[in-house]
């Protein structure tokens, strides 16, 4: 059965700080009757709180809105999804963005396109999300929407197509001219709730006609039908709207609308544009991987009758326990259904199913394909896929990279310690790349993740969401040890003094194994070492990998080949062969010329072209190998590989180098040998007790 979910929109609202995202969201909820009063965000009561929130958002780019809010506009169901603002490439950001089908990019008509707008735009580009732009604050002194539309072209590289003209600007801003219907729209009533449609004022008619022609010229580039109609001068409103929609969905154009959310102007036409031009789930092709067929990519069917595939994209702690936000991509998720979590392979029964509103939740019976809802009482991690039992389809790849950086946490007081424990439990559920453990030697709580910013965000959230007072130690890089050449071993473990004896002999060699952490091979013939003892040997060798003999870091990239050995009829045992393996490992490891390996990150910097030289210099200074520079017109993309240990504090350096206009992403690439001089410095630090905390 095919469900008609063409009237559903799953959108995000993204904005530069102070562009008016909060005010706009508030107005959207008011006009869609989700809230019944408009709160002034800079009201007397809220000044401090609002500013705190904004300050934090500015610093870290985290939004604290509900993960998904549902509202309804002119027969359309709209889910507004929280979009994280931080640029670090983490699984969490990826998940939030893949939920979106479309987005509104809010820009300030005075400030224009600023660095964070560029960042947000890059995220949208990366995930190919169709956008419409809303130029807000047209009532402000210095408002110049035409300049901002030009900046969208020049700085963001989008084909910006204005769909409206302002009627007056700054204090005289009173409404907009709709260039599709060729009407003037005014917003009457205390809260601008009633839209009055009038003919275009005579003073604007000529400009409006010119602008409409420009609009048709721009859009007809992407629609043959409109081009023909334009030549024959028979363009209709639905035809123009269809062409704008088609070009927007293909990301050929970015429609631009105007208004002032604070002055309650232009919000309703924006909601109309969301329903008219942004994609519904039907317009988007979603794919998943079939874990039973070596992660083959499969296309999901937008069909409520098909087997269920749903993604848990956000977890929230509420007063009634864990609330799991979920998007259903295929099939229907109903109350009482039995579903399977693909990661754990456990089946579970769905209890309460709800839909989130701005300030309350509503119980519903089912979430059909294309819709977003939330579940109560489901024990899962963020990013888990729920399917019909036995289906084996996952929305996310099952590979979770190992963390490459860690920090020690120092809680201030018992209360903070308890809060941190709660926070860590939740964060590890939300993000599989975020891990935590207690260091056996120091007793410190260690958190590990994929980058400095990744960990900073979680520490900040502990402080903000869990009121945990916490300080952190210096970041530590996850070094590894590896061997560079083959070395033989012949080791006999013999203990025959008192009690039951132990005997085991292993002969063989170790060699580097590129691309593998550990490989074990037996070439033993004639039963010199019986099979059960070979398993003990493997276990013994594996145990040695946890703490390498060179500098006590874990060992990677090693292959052990056992060729021969000896047993004793009475004294040989599992324990004896494990001990023999340990002895053999120690014997050969130093002969195999061990070296220290460090995580090397793939660092991609997107920078305005004028800063390209400086950015490359900064990467070069950090022992980076620059693989290439891609000239994208206004922007350049620099791809490089840089040791993680050199990347601490890079976001600050990059900001000051590029006036905050560049951004970078960083992901683990591979382990590479540490240069001798750096390895020596590390060894010195290790032996120096003061260096222990480093």
């Amino acid at each position: 059965m095919k469900i008609d979910n063409r009237h559903v929109r799953n959108i995000g609202i993204s904005a530069h700080i102070d562009a008016g995202k909060t005010t706009l969201t508030e107005r959207v909820l008011f006009y869609t009757q989700r809230i019944h009063a408009i709160h002034d965000v800079k009201g007397k009561d809220g000044v401090g709180a609002t500013m705190d929130f904004m300050e934090l958002e500015k610093e870290r780019g985290i939004t604290i809105a509900s993960a998904a809010t549902y509202c309804r506009w002119k027969e359309h169901d709209i889910n507004i999804i929280d979009t994280p603002g931080h640029v670090d490439f983490t699984i969490e950001v990826e998940r939030s963005l893949r939920i979106l089908d479309g987005a509104i990019l809010v820009l300030c008509s005075v400030g224009g396109v600023q660095s964070q707008s560029i960042t947000v735009n890059h995220q949208m580009n990366r995930y190919r999300i169709p956008c419409i732009a809303f130029i807000n604050k047209c009532d402000r002194v210095g408002a110049n929407p035409a300049r901002v539309a030009r900046q969208i072209k020049e700085k963001l590289g989008h084909h910006a197509v204005p769909l409206q003209l302002p009627i007056g600007l700054e204090a005289g801003f009173s409404g907009v001219v709709d260039l599709i219907s060729m009407n003037a729209l005014y917003f009457d009533g205390d809260k601008g709730e009633s839209v009055r449609v009038e003919p275009i004022p005579e003073s604007l008619r000529e400009e409006a006609e010119k602008s409409r022609e420009t609009l048709i010229d721009s859009v007809s580039l992407f629609s043959d039908e409109l081009m023909e109609a334009a030549l024959e001068e028979r363009i209709t409103e639905p035809m123009l709207m269809a062409a704008v929609r088609k070009a927007t969905l293909a990301r050929n154009i970015m429609p631009v609308l105007l208004g002032s959310a604070y002055k309650n102007k232009g919000v309703q036409p924006l909601l109309d544009a969301v329903t008219r031009f942004l994609p519904s789930p039907v317009d988007v092709t979603n794919t998943a991987v079939d874990v039973k067929r070596e992660n083959t990519v499969v296309e999901l069917k937008n069909d409520t009758g098909a087997p269920l595939v749903a993604l848990a994209f956000k977890l929230e702690d509420g007063p009634y326990g864990q609330l799991t936000y979920i998007r259903v991509y295929q099939g229907t998720l109903s109350k009482g259904d039995t579903v399977q979590n693909v990661r754990t392979e456990k089946t579970l029964k769905i209890g309460r199913v709800v839909r989130m509103h701005a300030d309350r939740m509503e119980d519903i019976e089912a979430i059909p394909a294309g819709y977003i809802g939330a579940l109560f009482g489901v024990d899962c991690y963020s990013g888990d896929t729920f399917v019909k039992p036995g289906l084996g389809i996952s929305m996310t790849s099952m590979h979770v990279p190992e963390p490459v950086i860690s920090l020690a946490l120092f809680p201030q007081g018992n209360k903070s310690q308890m809060n941190i424990a709660k926070a860590l439990e939740r964060f590890t559920k939300e993000d599989p790349t975020f891990k935590t453990h207690v260091d056996e030697e120091s007793g410190e709580t260690i958190i590990s993740g994929m980058g400095e910013l990744h960990l900073e965000i979680y520490v900040e959230r502990m402080r903000r969401e869990y009121q945990a007072e916490v300080t952190t130690g210096m970041p530590r890089v996850a070094y590894r040890e590896a061997i560079t050449q083959r070395a033989d071993f012949d080791y006999t473990h013999k203990k025959q003094t008192g009690g039951s004896g132990q005997y085991g002999r292993v002969v063989g060699y170790m060699e580097p194994a590129l691309g593998e952490d550990f490989a074990f091979e037996s070439q033993v013939v004639g039963g010199a070492i019986p099979k059960p003892f070979l398993a003990a040997c493997e276990k013994g060798f594996r145990n040695c990998l946890k703490k390498g003999p060179f500098m006590e870091y874990p060992v990677i990239g090693i292959k052990i080949v056992v060729q021969d050995g000896n047993t004793h009829p009475v004294d040989s045992s599992d324990v004896a062969f494990q001990a023999a393996a340990r002895g053999a490992f120690m014997q050969a490891f130093h002969k195999a010329r061990p070296m220290l390996m460090e995580p090397v990150m793939k660092v991609v910097v997107e920078t305005p072209t004028e800063f390209q030289g400086g950015v490359m210099g900064s990467l070069n200074q950090r022992r980076g190998i620059i693989e290439g520079a891609q000239d994208e017109g206004l922007f350049s993309v620099i791809e490089s590989r840089v040791p993680l240990s050199e990347m601490f504090g890079y976001s600050t350096v990059l900001r000051s180098l590029t006036q905050g206009k560049a951004q970078f992403t960083m992901e683990f690439s591979s382990y590479q040998p540490v240069p001798a001089a750096v390895a020596e410095a590390l060894a010195r630090k290790k032996t120096d007790p003061k260096g222990k905390s480093q």
Binding site: Q612, M616, G617
Partner: protein, 236 residues
């Protein structure tokens, strides 16, 4: 990481192009072919050979992203390593990487002054000092002609050999006993060496047009359709 670079053989020896000629500073060379015949594969092989001779190569691509260019290198490196029976190709590859820098431009955004500015930046900041430049993706002889003089200046200024791939629509006519006519009539005089890749998908051969030794006249190389590697073949 002290693995020495494994030396690869000069792919154009059989066409009469000596190493000293191909890697001579300011040498200006071109490879011409119709679209989809193997210009990029050819240039990448020339680049890999130069890298194996301890030369740093700046690969300028017009149109292709860095990742795609990198895949060409990885692919052809593994084929050459297999053919050269390189004992540990996986360990050798990282030794090649620091010798390569990929710079990509949109076709419409490319200009020689822009390339020169970027190149000067790399050299001044000691990020990368190229010994050879390869430029892949020039649309036609007439497009090339527009900036031949600027490119020659660039080669002179930085004392570098430059290899260029040019897309052509028609192959030059060949007459027995005569050297083939040039596929680059507008820019022919500017080049010391010109090589042409001809043929269809099942049989592609490479012919020297200009700059090879007279003894090698009439000799061709094949481009293996499976691996796109240059292989020796005497013309009938």
């Amino acid at each position: 990481m002290n693995t020495p670079l494994p030396p690869f053989a000069n792919p154009l020896t059989h066409l009469g192009y000596e190493e000293t000629k191909l890697l001579k500073p300011r040498a200006f060379s071109a490879v011409c072919a119709r679209p989809g015949v193997g210009k990029t594969a050819f240039l990448v092989q020339m680049a890999l050979w130069a890298m194996s001779r301890k030369k740093n190569v700046l690969h300028v691509s017009l149109g292709d992203p860095i990742k795609k260019v990198d895949l060409w290198y990885q692919d052809l490196f593994s084929h050459i390593a297999r053919r050269s029976a390189l004992p540990d190709a996986a360990a050798a590859w990282p030794t090649f990487l620091p010798r390569r820098f990929i710079m990509t431009f949109r076709v419409e955004g490319f200009s020689v002054p822009k390339l020169e500015e970027r190149l000067a930046d790399l050299v001044e900041q000691q990020i990368f000092t190229p010994h050879v430049i390869v430029i892949d993706g020039i649309e036609s002889d007439s497009a090339l002609h527009a900036f031949t003089a600027e490119l020659q200046n660039l080669a002179r200024k930085f004392l570098l050999p430059v290899w260029i791939s040019v897309r052509i629509q028609e192959y030059p006519s060949t007459q027995e006993g005569h050297p083939p006519s040039t596929p680059l009539p507008e820019s022919n005089a500017s080049f010391e060496s010109i090589v042409c890749i001809e043929g269809a998908a099942d049989r592609i051969h490479v012919r020297g047009i200009k700059g090879g030794t007279p003894q090698a006249l009439g000799t061709t190389l094949s481009l293996d359709p499976a691996t796109l590697l240059l292989t020796t073949e005497k013309a009938s």
